[in-house]
Symmetry: C2
Subunit: 434 residues, 2 copies
């Protein structure tokens, strides 16, 4: 159990900031007004410019190496350095930005050149993604969806042995705020014998935790579960947009393809393992009768502290709600404790056959639904396969997403006596099909 | 129908060369002895060095632009230029290297600096692969495998409507000659109720055509079928190594994952559409009763000439065969005419929902088996699910691959009155599991 860390920053907006206090310091890539993309750290309402800081020689030792690696237009080089330099950077940043820092006057004098306001900047994808993998570790989601696709057989026999995953499309992973065009595709209308073509009528979101890979492994080698956490650079929110009607028709026998590859949205900030340390939990015990994981998926330390207590939220704001000045409506409140497998188990499984992971690879957890309807992480589940529409405060109803709908994912870590930290938002608005 | 092109080269080894006559001129990336990787063109037993040629100013106009784009350590920039510059490069190369070329004396004087022998060079992957997609368009394979996995239901209802595909792993696509380590993984032994962990016992190859994407499309847009061929940079051989026991246990409901992501091998040379022009065919008529493709998959020109007549061969040489001096044994002879969907249909389908394709993306066709056992493109099919072992000339038997086995894929285009062209080889030898 870590000590509570209640240090304050001389950057006033950081203290009590719901997402980005001195205890968070997430990494990202941004463009200051009129300048090129570079690495930065969110602090309160501002971004600490790692390139400007590196150029000004504000760091020493490993932290200087980390800041230099983060000065380009992606964080892949920083991720490749592993946990040591990342931690050194965090420690020196907390000294520089902490209350009573001897550097305060010097840093304040650099003004917007070092600490531009976040609102004035453009946020980008934090890394060049080599490969993107989507897992399926949300067991309540697997159960709920399994029941809709295979009523007799919701959870397949492999689920409790294998951290099920599949390869996704890296080229269409976009950063929060990017508009998402409704896909056209083949679907089989209820009762039809032949498919038709047109805009998806069952467009959905999926509430997921994203995992950014740090140091990788050589092809043909594997990452032992005890080492797995050291290969993770950090975490984000991930919306795995899904065209359910396309998915139902295409997914057998080789899995989802066009139903998912038109867009995946991630939040811009990489929340580090260090920031999440106070919010680690023991992996919830497996229900009575569930099998033990195979030894390559089992590690005492991982069982004792490999899970996270992160609150996850989905909100929706329709075009009509925006016009009427209505705020986004919460659709679900869930938690990462709904993961049946830990992140370390996902990393160990992915690499166990020798698959090469590389810095900047991205994992999605799979939809993290809770057991109750108010914690369901997709419309497919919340509307029971489109059968029970949701009512919006604008008087509209929704089974699946309409054009103009904006979906907003949020995540926050809360623990008594600790400053809360947040992930920032993962947003996307649906454009009409072409 | 193209004119027969029987031009000869002043490079003696090119004339009558089974793979690389003047009519082929495939593109690749290689390192000359002691030098850095760069683009090149196979001609007879030599490689024409595009960087050396570009530096020496041997090309003009679009061809010069193409050669410059191919001077780095991957062909992505060349692929991004599209068909025009690629064709211009081909035309000027055929002039420079053709019999009676006024440039012959000058080029010969440059010697190994321009035309190193292929045997002295190292071949690399031709492109940095953004995303790799594996299709399933070999209908006889889909039937054969479907029968083994789902005896009652071999070909699913979507197969004749949807060019089925799934996302593969880009990080483990390797060039011919790279050794392939047998993966460990979870499998469910026959009759067992719980899985066990260890080296795959049913390691297999898959004989596929690879497709390299040239110019891409913006996210949210699609490539019309009539334009699709213009987005293809060229073709190669692809071995989609598969751990069948891992696959059978893991693949439901989201498709193959660890069963395929440990390795995919491609041949080093990119055979251009221009070189394959004489070997185009009409798409074979669909069997009576098969549905018409949806309009977005239908194009008159594609139906009339979107298929290829390329002979595909699989050979195997075990460690014992190598020791006894026995040559590789042919396991299968098939043809790309076994594709149920054309390459243009694959491109149009992949992008129809707005998925972004990028230069250097790679497609696999799926296993291209013929109808008869001697044309089956995987051991899963040739041995009827491991039930009928094959006999090797060394006295050994094989159901699936043994450590030390080398699998060799070859492809050749034959047409009367035309010089034949080949793809070069796609080789890989199995290393024991760790």
């Amino acid at each position: 159990m870590t000590q509570a860390d209640n240090r304050r920053s001389w950057i006033a907006s950081a203290n009590g900031h719901p997402d980005f206090p001195l205890q968070n310091l997430p990494l990202g890539v941004f463009s200051p007004p009129g300048a090129s993309p570079r690495g930065g750290v969110a602090i309160g309402d501002a971004i600490f410019d790692l390139k400007a800081a590196s150029d000004a020689g504000l760091f020493s030792g490993d932290a200087a190496e980390a800041a230099l690696a983060a000065s380009g237009d992606d964080l892949n080089a920083l991720f490749a350095l592993g946990a040591g330099p990342r931690r050194a950077l965090r420690e020196q940043l907390q000294e520089l930005l902490g209350e009573g820092s001897p550097a305060q006057a010097r840093l304040e004098a650099m003004g917007q050149a070092l600490l531009p306001s976040m609102a004035s900047c453009t946020l980008h994808l934090p890394a060049r993604i080599g490969d993107y993998t989507d897992f399926y570790v949300g067991i309540h989601h697997a159960n709920n969806v399994g029941r809709l696709f295979r009523p007799d057989n919701p959870l397949l026999p492999n689920y409790k042995h294998v951290p099920i995953g599949y390869h996704g499309r890296a080229s269409t992973v976009v950063v929060s705020g990017t508009e998402v065009r409704r896909p056209n595709g083949q679907t089989l209308a209820p009762g039809a014998e032949t498919p038709s073509f047109g805009p998806s009528k069952r467009l959905d979101y999926e509430l997921e935790l994203g995992i950014w890979i740090g140091q990788g492994n050589a092809m043909g080698e594997s990452i032992a579960i005890g080492e797995a956490e050291r290969h993770v650079a950090g975490y984000c929110l991930l919306n795995d947009w899904s065209a359910r009607d396309v998915q139902a028709w295409e997914y057998q026998p080789l899995g989802p393809f066009l139903a998912k590859n038109f867009a995946t949205t991630v939040s811009p900030w990489v929340i580090t393992a260090e920031a999440l340390e106070p919010f680690r939990k023991a992996q919830p015990p497996r229900p009575e009768g569930d099998p033990q994981p195979l030894p390559y998926l089992l590690d005492d330390r991982d069982q004792a502290g490999g899970a996270f207590d992160i609150q996850l939220e989905v909100l929706l704001q329709s075009a009509a709600m925006r016009e009427q000045g209505l705020p986004p409506m919460r659709l679900a409140l869930s938690n990462t404790l709904n993961m049946y497998w830990t992140v370390a188990q996902m990393v160990a499984h992915h690499s166990v056959g020798g698959c090469k992971l590389q810095p900047g690879d991205l994992f999605g957890s799979g939809t993290l639904s809770g057991q109750q309807p108010e914690a369901f992480g997709s419309l497919l589940e919340s509307t029971f396969g489109g059968k029970q529409p949701l009512s919006l405060p604008s008087g509209e109803e929704r089974t699946f997403l309409a054009d103009g709908d904006e979906v907003i994912l949020r995540a926050r870590c809360l623990r008594e006596g600790h400053p809360s930290i947040g992930f920032g938002e993962c947003r996307g608005t649906i454009l009409p099909a072409r």
